[in-house]
């Protein structure tokens, strides 16, 4: 992917908002990749967590929009536990979910009645509450 960086890219309203919602200082990241190394979903993410952090600090809102990364984040907190710079990447993922979820116009990503019947009859309540909080407005 080619990115064209211009003055002002780093401090857009997007990056400000992301920083505010996540509470994380994106610039602290030194791209060691440890967050991605321990991430249980990295293998199916289009862009792994460390690269998402990089895109975020470069203010690349367009490149981030539409990625599957933050929708495949299970909030397992491994990245938070292991980042040598003390960055809580799980909070960055949550912030991206929130920022991209609100303006979404497509149908909800998860609807209880679209789940297979045998699953719905057994799935724990906590999973529905957690999933609906992450995936629906």
């Amino acid at each position: 992917m080619t990115l064209r960086l211009e003055r002002g890219t780093f401090t857009t309203t997007f990056t400000q908002r992301l920083k505010e919602l996540s509470g994380q200082d994106l610039f602290t990241c030194y791209q060691c990749g440890k967050c991605s190394a321990g991430c249980p979903s990295a293998s199916v993410m289009e862009t792994p967590p460390h690269a998402v952090v990089r895109l975020a600090w470069l203010g690349q809102e367009k490149a981030l929009r539409g990625l599957n990364t933050y929708w495949l984040c299970a909030a397992c907190l491994t990245c938070d536990l292991r980042c040598p710079k003390g960055i809580d990447v799980s909070r960055i993922m949550e912030a991206l979910r929130v920022m991209f979820l609100r303006p979404r116009e497509e149908p909800d990503m998860v609807a209880p009645d679209s789940l297979p019947k045998d699953m719905l009859s057994r799935i724990p309540q906590q999973a529905l509450v957690a999933g609906l909080r992450k995936y629906t407005k």
């Binding site: 505010e20 919602l21 996540s22 509470g23 994380q24 249980p40 979903s41 199916v44 929708w71 495949l72 299970a74 909030a75 397992c76 907190l77 491994t78 938070d80 536990l81 809580d88 799980s90 909070r91 993922m93 949550e94 912030a95 929130v98 990503m109 998860v110 789940l115 699953m119 057994r122 799935i123 724990p124 309540q125 906590q126 999973a127 529905l128 509450v129 957690a130 999933g131 909080r133 992450k134 995936y135």
Partner: protein
């Protein structure tokens, strides 16, 4: 300090086994509990948007409820545990917001209600040596893979009852119960959690990775403290579950069994696999560790030594 039990939304229904067996364990261990009279949902997944304390009002409301009575809150589901404990931490970190929150939820909460998990009580209050002495039915034929998952131990600075990269509490517990504890590399991985609602193929691969790792290390049982993990393991475990190669339990089910609780009170009902058969075999086998002396069914233990009759895990 009085201990109030917070069951949460799942234990009275989809995880009744967890609830029933935990109550039986506490009874047998002399841990006094009183179920909270009024409680609300803890919010399940802790909201990670930074500093928006409004997101945490539900868990804080529960803590304020316990505060009124004066006591501490004990919970079993790790989603509840994580959410309640982290919300408390967030609340304590923002003293300037206490007044407005208390006004809103009509309370005078100060952030001081301790949130504990039953595993913490077993470790710090009962102690594993004392526990081993109370074992009536050592779990000799069980090869147990403790599974910690994500939320019981992370993040360290907010939960902090065990080293999240190298915990030992469940290993010590099952050694005390006379089971063989299996060491395997995936005990701290994620089961897929709520991703199972949206990405079933990916959840299947996450679950398979964990279960295969446990089975390869020789386990015939994987033990958790989370209804989410149990569901994912059983629902997405494929052949390993269909063929009874590995069984999923709440730690309290096996603890209650080992402590000699009536089998009906050990849970053991909401399972996909034939746990009765496994347990009959386990109880008949000799204990692997120095737990309890009254070996139930010791007459047959020789013929049913650990592993002899259990389904062959590695080829399952």
């Amino acid at each position: 300090m009085k201990t109030y039990y917070y069951p949460g939304c799942t234990l009275p229904d989809k995880a009744r086994d967890f609830d029933t067996s935990a109550r039986a364990c506490c009874e047998l261990l002399g841990l006094e509990l009183e179920e909270m009279e009024r409680w609300v949902c803890c919010g399940s997944a802790f909201k990670l948007d930074h500093k928006n304390i409004m997101q945490h009002l539900a868990p804080i409301r529960n803590l304020a409820e316990v505060h009124k009575e004066g006591g501490r809150l004990m919970t079993l589901c790790v989603f509840c545990y994580n959410s309640l404990k982290r919300a408390n931490y967030a609340f304590l970190a923002e003293p300037d917001k206490h007044e407005v929150i208390n006004d809103f939820i009509e309370s005078d909460y100060d952030g001081k209600v301790p949130v504990v998990h039953l595993l913490e009580m077993l470790k710090d209050e009962v102690g594993f040596e004392a526990l081993a002495e109370k074992v009536k039915r050592p779990l000799g034929g069980l090869r147990v893979a403790p599974f910690y998952g994500c939320l019981l131990l992370r993040p360290q600075e907010e939960i902090g009852f065990e080293d999240p990269e190298n915990p030992t509490v469940m290993e010590k517990l099952f050694e005390a119960l006379g089971a063989e504890v299996v060491s395997y590399p995936h005990r701290l991985e994620c089961c897929g959690s709520y991703l199972s609602l949206k990405d079933r193929d990916h959840t299947t691969s996450m679950v398979t990775r964990v279960l295969e790792s446990a089975v390869e290390a020789g386990a015939n049982a994987i033990v958790t403290s989370c209804p989410m993990c149990n569901f994912n393991f059983e629902f997405f475990g494929g052949e390993l579950v269909a063929r009874d190669t590995i069984h999923t339990f709440y730690f309290t089910e096996l603890l209650a069994l080992a402590l000699g609780a009536d089998r009906k009170l050990c849970g053991l009902e909401q399972h996909e696999t034939d746990v009765d058969r496994l347990i009959d075999e386990a109880l008949a086998a000799p204990a692997t560790a120095a737990a309890g002396s009254e070996t139930a069914g010791s007459g047959t233990s020789g013929a049913r030594a650990s592993g002899d009759q259990a389904p062959d895990a590695r080829n399952g």
